[in-house]
């Protein structure tokens, strides 16, 4: 159990996506004792998932943007950083003590610098029936494709908006998988709002790839645009999706419905550690408050990658380098200033055009703030109506809501309902989500057993704290 974990490291990196790989590589190459913990079985995070062992032999299916991750993983493997796969970090304290579970047991370690690279998750997409078997996220379908070479059979429809939806559609088509339709929920008024951001977008790295991708998909699949409402229908599994365009509701038979409404930072570990976050009105999510190297309000703790605000895999890599450079220097090591300058330049380049994507794919209110008996908290099966009615009783915020309804208290710890509950309460009270705040998160940020906690080595101070003298 937890064999071979040192009592302390110079740098601990959490998450093996592009940010984590780049950060850990930078630190290890500069001679720092570096450890990288990752929940996955293989390095790459979600974007480069299974890049070392995907069963897909045909490179064109996943596309070159995927395969670019290869060099990141190779550099990391060659860096000498300690890599612990299948490791869930469940606690990070202000003193940078890390609680981590792997190989069936838990261990504690300490690092002079911690770089959180816990990435993003898909924004909750609470529509009626989204808990039915057969409904899953676009990202989930992509994971099955990358890591197991699995594609949905039967009638498959994609619904929502955002770059990842188009990417998966293209990957499915290249793999000769069939798609019935794409229900595009991009709000028509978003185009006008995105227009002021169009110029930087035209000079961005997204434009050529993105437009080609959408053309490729639209040639082969029926795209129904201007969708303003969605309902997944079915008894014990999804059998149809009802959608509304221009006032009329129609239905499509489906065996699989894949949903996507963009990404939000995965804030659980950072918030539980005490890192300050603010509500970002452009991205409609909580983002940590960081300096330009990714440093947070917690001494020695930085965040890099999409966990620092959604900016994509390329930006994540350069943010990872910058956080790594800052960590190395903070503990007295050396990094060539050219490396830092290059990373800043590349980061600026990759951030160009992000404002356009944020405005164009801003999720419509109807898909963020549900009504009626639509389930909001999947774990505790709490509905939108119950939350609104509880606000009407005088419940002011998400933490009181937990006590009334148990929303956010299931095993996912609010990951799949947190932003929805905040926005629902804000809408019901007519104030900004900023004023409502978020669930108060606490360690362990993932469920671990009492047996695992009890088996942890105890310090003298911890024993004295509970012993009568």
């Amino acid at each position: 159990m937890s064999a071979g974990l040192a009592a302390s490291y110079d740098v601990a990196v959490i998450g093996a996506g592009p940010a984590g790989l780049a950060a850990a590589t930078t630190c290890a190459n500069a001679g720092c004792a570096t450890v990288l913990f990752d929940e996955g079985a293989m390095p790459g995070g979600q974007i480069y998932r299974s890049i070392e062992d995907t069963p897909l032999r045909e490179r064109s299916v996943l596309g070159e943007s995927y395969w670019r991750g290869r060099t990141l993983v190779e550099s990391f493997r060659a860096s000498g950083a300690r890599y612990i796969a299948g490791a869930t970090v469940w606690s990070l304290t202000r003193d940078r003590e890390i609680g981590v579970s792997f190989d069936g047991g838990s261990a504690l370690t300490y690092a002079k610098r911690v770089i959180l690279c816990t990435g993003a998750l898909e924004r909750p997409f609470p529509i009626p029936g989204w808990t039915l078997p057969g409904v899953m996220t676009v990202g989930a379908a992509q994971t099955l494709l990358k890591s197991s070479g699995l594609v949905a059979s039967g009638k498959t429809t994609l619904a929502g908006c955002g770059p990842l939806l188009w990417l998966l559609a293209a990957q499915y088509l290249r793999a000769h998988a069939k798609l019935e339709a794409i229900l595009d929920t991009t709000a028509r008024e978003n185009r006008a709002h995105a227009l002021p951001h169009a110029l930087p977008f035209l000079f961005s790295s997204y434009v050529a790839d993105g437009i080609a991708l959408m053309r490729e998909v639209k040639r082969q699949v029926r795209v129904i645009s201007g969708v303003t409402s969605l309902r997944a229908l079915g008894d014990r599994k999804v059998s149809a999706v009802a959608y509304r365009t221009g006032g009329e509701e129609k239905t499509l038979e489906v065996d699989n419905l894949f949903l996507h409404q963009g990404l939000i930072p995965n804030v659980n570990l950072a918030m539980a550690a005490g890192i300050a976050h603010r509500w970002d009105e452009a991205q409609l999510c909580w983002v940590p408050e960081l300096d330009r190297d990714g440093n947070s309000n917690l001494e020695g703790v930085a965040i890099a990658g999409d966990g620092a605000g959604i900016a994509g895999g390329e930006a994540a890599r350069w943010r990872g380098v910058l956080a790594g450079v800052a960590a190395v220097r903070a503990i007295g090591g050396n990094v060539a200033s050219g490396d830092e300058q290059r990373a800043r330049k590349e980061l600026a380049r990759t951030l160009r055009g992000r404002g356009f994507l944020d405005a164009l794919y801003r999720p419509a209110r109807n898909f963020r703030i549900p009504e009626g008996d639509t389930i909001v908290c999947r774990c505790e099966e709490v509905t939108a109506h119950e939350i609104s009615a509880t606000v009407a009783l005088g419940c002011p915020g998400p933490n009181q809501m937990k006590a009334f309804l148990r929303c956010g208290m299931g095993p996912c710890q609010g990951r799949l309902c947190g932003v929805t509950v905040t926005e629902l309460i804000a809408a019901a009270r007519g104030v900004s989500p900023r004023e409502i705040g978020y669930y108060r998160l606490r360690p362990p940020v993932k469920p671990i057993t009492v047996a695992e906690l009890a088996a942890l080595p105890k310090s003298e101070a911890a024993i004295k704290a509970v012993t009568r003298s």
Partner: protein, 98 residues
């Protein structure tokens, strides 16, 4: 339902799902193996008994909780398959002692 793209790479691994033998591939997580096997749900909820299947495949939604080798509440999407593994659909809350 999910189908594998040819060629089916990776070695075959045999596990059991609710006692029935099932073949998976070395790269699979338990959740991928369950979906490939055609199983339509992997748990029922503790609140209403509703069926659920893997939703996020990245360890955040907890809808793929199953019992693996007698231990309940395992996230099927984070556990790689192993030869001889016993997977059971989790009905309601995790049982005491499992």
């Amino acid at each position: 339902m999910f189908a594998r793209l040819p060629p089916e790479a990776g070695d075959a691994v045999t596990l059991s799902i609710d006692g029935k033998a099932c073949t998976a591939r070395t790269n699979d997580t338990v959740a991928a193996a369950l979906l490939a096997s055609g199983l339509d749900h992997c748990r029922t909820t503790g609140v209403s008994g509703a069926p659920r299947a893997p939703y996020c495949m990245m360890g955040v939604c907890f809808d793929c909780l199953v019992t693996i080798d007698g231990i309940g509440n395992r996230q099927a999407c984070l556990v790689p398959v192993r030869e001889g593994m016993r997977v059971e659909v989790q009905r309601g809350k995790r049982e005491l002692g499992r």
